[in-house]
């Protein structure tokens, strides 16, 4: 296997956003993802494309055509969260996804239908590990880590703090342990963290910051947990590229027609080891893709040869 990036492949169907964006009021509540930048600032083309999607139940998501969207997007690596399904109950249609032949699954033990993550790859990883190495955190199928020759990819579904924040103390323990886990990986190879981090970092990252100060996903505790990842050197790839773009969300509750009104939250991220800054081409929010209460996000990296 080559060092850096992935073996070359034919490029096709990675973007359907050819039409020019219609002009809109600056304060529009809607958001249109700009066309993909396929090269770095220095002009190097991307050679790794990663998609992450909280599918909110992989069985329902497959029925709603999620796999067809993935085939058109054609990422090199696909990270899934909230599969809500053990490896046994997975839909057979997944076998027909020949684009991503190497498939790995994690699920909660003794809790069918809860949590669960997936990591699918075009090329075979050197190895794949489950969890973060701490029993308290590894029974819920929340983390898969794939090691490739020159980087790690982590698919993560961070615990929700729950109604009434009853699980916020646990979430704080998680945040600390997960950060330690990521930093340990980072001492070996650069890390691409993908997934539903279950936090909106700043006010710009959700529609209603004021009324959600004590809601799961926007407490100071959770925001500080995210901040600590950035302080430790990780980059929020979307905000690095679009530091002031508002209304860019990846989750909308099913309640109250929130999605059509774009009353959303940015909960899904690609966080990168700082030394991947120069490899970053683009970090996209695919808000038109339906099938879950989250939309997919896609990362384009130009890794060194």
């Amino acid at each position: 296997r080559k060092a850096g990036g992935m073996p070359k492949r034919s490029k096709k169907g990675e973007d359907g956003d050819g039409a020019a964006p219609k002009s809109r009021r600056e304060d529009s509540a809607l958001y249109e993802d700009p066309p993909v930048r396929e090269e770095t600032a220095e002009g190097r083309p991307y050679n790794l494309k990663v998609t992450s999607w909280n599918v909110d139940g992989i069985r329902a998501w497959v029925k709603k055509g999620g796999l067809k969207w993935i085939e058109a997007e054609a990422p090199d690596v696909l990270c899934l969260q909230e599969t809500k399904c053990g490896a046994e109950g997975l839909p057979a249609e997944l076998n027909q996804l020949q684009l991503l032949p190497h498939k790995f699954w994690g699920s909660a033990v003794g809790r069918p239908g809860y949590s669960g993550v997936g990591l699918l790859s075009r090329t075979e990883p050197l190895r794949v590990t489950h969890g973060i190495g701490i029993d308290e955190h590894d029974a819920e199928g929340r983390v898969l880590t794939a090691e490739f020759p020159s980087f790690y990819i982590v698919s993560a579904y961070v615990p929700n703090s729950g109604r009434g924040l009853n699980r916020l103390p646990y979430r704080q323990r998680w945040d600390r342990a997960f950060r330690d886990f990521l930093l340990a990986l980072d001492t070996q190879k650069p890390v691409v963290l993908c997934g539903d981090l279950n936090v909106a970092h700043q006010e710009i990252d959700l529609k209603n910051p004021k009324s959600n100060r004590r809601s799961a996903g926007f407490t100071q505790e959770e925001r500080d947990g995210f901040g600590a990842l950035l302080d430790a050197g990780f980059l929020d790839s979307f905000r690095v590229l679009y530091p002031t773009v508002p209304h860019a969300y990846t989750f909308w509750t099913y309640m109250g027609a929130a999605r059509e009104r774009n009353v959303g939250w940015r909960l899904d991220y690609f966080l990168l080891s700082g030394r991947l800054r120069g490899a970053l081409c683009d970090s996209k929010i695919r808000s038109a893709a339906m099938g879950s209460d989250h939309c997919p996000i896609t990362l384009y990296l130009a890794l060194e040869a």
Copy 2:
């Protein structure tokens, strides 16, 4: 109020079976209900029409158009079983059923979504009672009794003996107590018992008698319970009129496409006090009506003035 029968009303839409039945092999697994006989053997026209239907969840049944079928059938009294709904959660569409303005509901206490019966009437009953007067049996919302000037109508959902027959002992206690209840009513006025009695009486009353000898609904114990009602003088109105007609069922499990293959059971009955024999015009099985795993049945009586 008049004694005997109900006040006259305009006749309309009570039957859509105008076409002549197609000829079929004698041993056909299918069943076609013959046209309604609207008069007694002596030529007296019916003046009471009662429909009974185990709706298997009234909320889903209403969504599937159950009420439209009822409006076309236009009975004087409608008995419903397995509403699976307390009086609070009933669909609003029921209010628009002006055909049957007097509505009564029974539901299980402390067990939302379980059991439940309804009794709806065109004319106002003298009174309506819940249950059969025994605490052990009256917590599950299984019986409503409406008293009219010259008869009682009972809407009943008899307890299922359960997988593994684990509730058969309870069922036997129920059968005894329910029989006593009906016989006590019968000493006052003739009784029309409608509902899901959760037993196929004889081999002719289900598709697969051999393999169901120890299945809930066809154990000797349950069949004997039914037999005891007949011994006590009640009439199985359908079998009185059609003593040897096979393949006449009112329930088909949702599993294995049982309904389209007519792999069914006759579990829903109109049982009549013996002295109503002369009033019996017809007892129909409306197997074309969809919306539940049971179909409705309709009784036509010509009560004395």
